[in-house]
Symmetry: C2
Subunit: 355 residues, 2 copies
């Protein structure tokens, strides 16, 4: 499996309910009131969604602080990533990063260039400067999956400047944006330039706990919005997803509460994980943590956790990571404690085996 979240394949290995630490979903669940809202939309299933998604784009424009004409919507942000990759001449990726960038580029037989993040998973703009060419599409996870790191503001501005100078496009995949501690907002930062050559993608999937609804969106220049909409499928958003989109982004209380909750759990879980000697724990600004296992392979750890009903993400299929990395989602306290306990047992096992 290339992605996390595939619990179906592992159900037979554990007698009980599996807990999914392999996909990074807000543990608070989707915003309250959504169910009634969806029920109210059942009648709309008998009509085509608005092919122009006028109301949805207007809801998103209000949430993102940009103009409706700058909003694009997709069947998950992956449809938007896909569309921009299709339009690109060449794709430039930093590794490790989300596997779909590479897969979609491969589906369209696009030339793809891989640059490595530094050892600490920070980006070196010099590597970019040497590589970037006209009509390239540079895709950066911001924050990046699986590393959990966000570009600092200066590096982001430098990257954008570089893409503009070279005549390339910058696509920021910000699927985890709302989980980050408040710092900058890319859409605010580049608003005055009308997002020329820039695409900022986000989604309802992770933060709003709606991976099943398939609603991705983004802000970009009017021109790029028009270009990608020639590639996007008609009626690409299900009418219940559209309805959800007109509802969830208004819930400021939920957004605030989720961000605070995650900040608290992240601090707690990171602190505890760092005490475990056999783990190298990488800093995270989001709702998941990348870990290097000093004494076990990912597969041994995976099986060890699965025996305890926990599914973690093995990372060797992220280009640039070897078989010693795993990624875990930050969940609610009860489950985070189960995760910690399993890591501690694994650590004790390492002690035993080395003694």
């Amino acid at each position: 499996m290339i992605h996390g979240g595939d619990l179906i394949s592992y159900r037979s290995f554990y007698d009980g309910e599996l807990v999914d630490f392999s996909s990074n979903i807000n543990p608070l669940g989707y915003p309250q009131g959504l169910e009634e809202e969806l029920i109210g939309g059942f009648g709309e299933l008998e009509s085509y969604p608005d092919i122009l998604y006028r109301k949805l784009k207007s809801s998103l424009a209000a949430y993102l602080g940009c103009d409706s004409s700058q909003v694009v919507v997709g069947n998950g942000s992956v449809e938007l990533i896909d569309g921009f990759i299709f339009l690109a001449k060449r794709v430039v990726l930093f590794t490790p990063s989300f596997a779909e960038y590479e897969l979609r580029a491969r589906a369209y037989r696009k030339e793809t260039v891989y640059l490595a993040y530094k050892r600490d998973f920070q980006l070196d703009p010099k590597a970019l400067e040497r590589t970037l060419k006209k009509e390239d599409l540079l895709i950066l996870g911001n924050p990046n999956n699986p590393t959990g790191l966000r570009l600092d503001r200066d590096t982001l501005q430098e990257c954008y400047k570089l893409t503009r100078e070279k005549g390339a496009l910058l696509l920021l995949d910000e699927a985890f944006f709302e989980f980050c501690p408040e710092d900058y907002d890319s859409l605010e930062l580049f608003k005055d330039g009308g997002y020329e050559g820039l695409i900022v993608l986000r989604a309802a999937t992770k933060f709003f706990s709606l991976p099943g609804i398939r609603l991705g969106y983004g802000g970009t220049s009017e021109r790029l919005a028009r270009d990608v909409e020639e590639i996007l499928l008609p009626w690409n958003i299900n009418s219940l997803a559209e309805r959800a989109g007109n509802f969830i982004f208004k819930d400021k209380t939920y957004i605030e509460k989720s961000r605070n909750y995650m900040e608290k759990e992240r601090t707690f879980l990171m602190g505890e994980l760092k005490r475990i000697g056999s783990l190298e724990v990488f800093p995270s600004q989001v709702n998941f943590i990348l870990i290097r296992l000093k004494k076990f392979s990912q597969d041994r750890a995976f099986d060890f956790f699965l025996e305890r009903g926990l599914v973690i993400r093995r990372c060797s299929n992220f280009r640039g990571l070897d078989k010693n990395y795993v990624r875990v989602a930050i969940k609610d306290r009860k489950n985070n404690l189960r995760l910690l306990e399993a890591f501690r047992s694994l650590d004790s096992l390492a002690e035993e085996e080395s003694s």
Copy 2:
């Protein structure tokens, strides 16, 4: 607008509820019990759909009478049409037909060949024989939109034989299949050959009255299924759409009732329309009727109907039809009577103006 169903654009022109004769949806609405089924699926929104859609494919395999490995699923059948067009070297279309074939081919800059249906909208295999080349993708609406006609069994078999001989692919867009009087089932007809070089696409959209849910599917060879799945987006089906798909196809009573209802209304509406002198009414095997207006342009008729709260489909943007064609959906008796009344008034107006 390229498609029907865009009522939002016309709302301000009529003081009341518009009736949509421009999109071809089953007037009986979606199957009973679907709402409870969807409500039962709200919890699943917080997980990714099964990326392999194992259960959905098995539901569809049972409905279609083929193997799960021969089933493909899409975000509406348009995603599947799109995927196969992307893979094709050249696209061969008969006109008039559904606009998306041409639009998706254009999006991918595919060479496209247009052949015309005969004056009675039947297909001439000889034209095909002269044109078809290796690696072509021939797309046929079966039944075809906007003409409402199905290929007779012999012509279909001849077309398939031709594509096999030439090394081309045959894609049958059967979005309206279940509305047809029972005759043959393409998936049954070609089952023994394992659907080599054949794609038969259908959807929940029209017959199951679910255009908002976005669920298209099809039967094809295992090999073509694998090929197109490299192009399809991951998690392309919303989890509520998946749930609907596991429910609706089992409702044999609904299917039977809808087919009978449509047969009755079609016979009634066709009979009445044919009495109106200013209309040339084309035969139909589905839930819509193509009409040539002998004395009015499509735009004049459109406005005339809109004043009466009825939205019909103008057809001049179907390649091969001029400004004198309109298409109307067959709805419930009450609305069909309103439609007839409007056509009769239009006919009287024609009388007046010519006298």
